[in-house]
């Protein structure tokens, strides 16, 4: 992806803890703060925040956590979410609104409505999901942004 631009991105890496649901969203919150400070367009910041937050929640719910790498370019934000969870058996099915394999206890926490991946796709300009059963899932998202202070 780095050949898209000669500008060196601001890179942030996070470990998403898988054992504590209450901490899900911390990394997204940090990214949101950085983007605000850099002066990006508020709508773009919100799309980045929602997409990454949904991804964080997914990793906590389904994969016992994972890692997030965020690269901030003047014209886009690239997010790579990688986990070593059980994998997604049918990615196209998982992309359908309302399809969820989350257990009831997750719904009691306010998630698991089957809107996570579709919403991540909606917020992204480009999203790719690579998943191998028993190995894990990688999600790559690109969100175009405007109005940087660069």
């Amino acid at each position: 992806m780095s050949n898209k631009s000669s500008v060196e991105p601001i890179t942030q890496q996070y470990v998403i803890p898988g054992t504590d649901f209450t901490r899900a969203g911390e990394a997204s919150s940090k990214v949101k703060t950085i983007l605000k400070r850099l002066g990006y367009d508020p709508d773009a910041i919100r799309r980045v925040a929602i997409a990454m937050y949904e991804g964080e929640i997914n990793m906590v719910i389904h994969a016992h956590g994972g890692t997030a790498k965020v690269e901030i370019f003047p014209d886009r934000v690239e997010i790579a979410l990688c986990d070593q969870g059980p994998g997604i058996s049918d990615v196209s099915k998982a992309m359908e609104e309302g399809y969820s394999t989350a257990p009831d206890e997750v719904r009691a926490l306010g998630f698991g409505a089957g809107m996570g991946l579709p919403n991540m796709k909606k917020c992204s300009d480009d999203m790719r999901v690579h998943s191998i059963i028993g190995k894990g899932t990688d999600v790559y998202m690109t969100i175009r942004v405007r109005g940087t202070g660069n």
């Binding site: 209450t22 969203g25 919150s29 919100r46 937050y53 306010g110 089957g114 809107m115």
Partner: protein, 114 residues
């Protein structure tokens, strides 16, 4: 509508935040954060019965300015503290979701979808 009017209409208790002159134009009600994240666009206030920290995180990601917990639910101190850190006002009302939303709608607050 000013936040102070909302507090009055809902007979709400303010758990954090003190700008009662803050303007709130639109609101939404949901216990499912998944749905809130997928369907909310520019609502300023979330009414919910979900009192875990993810209600605050969801409001934060959506740039919301106020959360009102319904059905008399009282969040933990950690949840209120998180909201305070993020500049989000927190209210709690004894009214149930339908009644709380109805009171605000009747007073002129809208969902932003009509």
């Amino acid at each position: 509508m000013k936040l102070g009017n909302i507090v009055e209409l809902l007979d709400a208790k303010v758990l954090c935040g003190d700008d009662m002159d803050m303007e709130i134009q639109t609101a939404c009600g949901s216990d499912m954060m998944s749905d809130a994240l997928a369907f909310i666009e520019d609502q300023a206030m979330l009414l919910t019965g979900l009192i875990n920290p993810q209600s605050v995180r969801t409001a934060e990601m959506l740039d919301m300015r106020c959360i009102c917990f319904v059905r008399g639910k009282m969040p933990g101190d950690d949840v209120v503290e998180l909201a305070r850190e993020r500049g989000i006002t927190v209210l709690t009302t004894r009214y149930r979701m339908f009644s709380a939303c109805g009171k605000l709608y009747q007073a002129g607050l809208r969902g932003g979808d009509c």
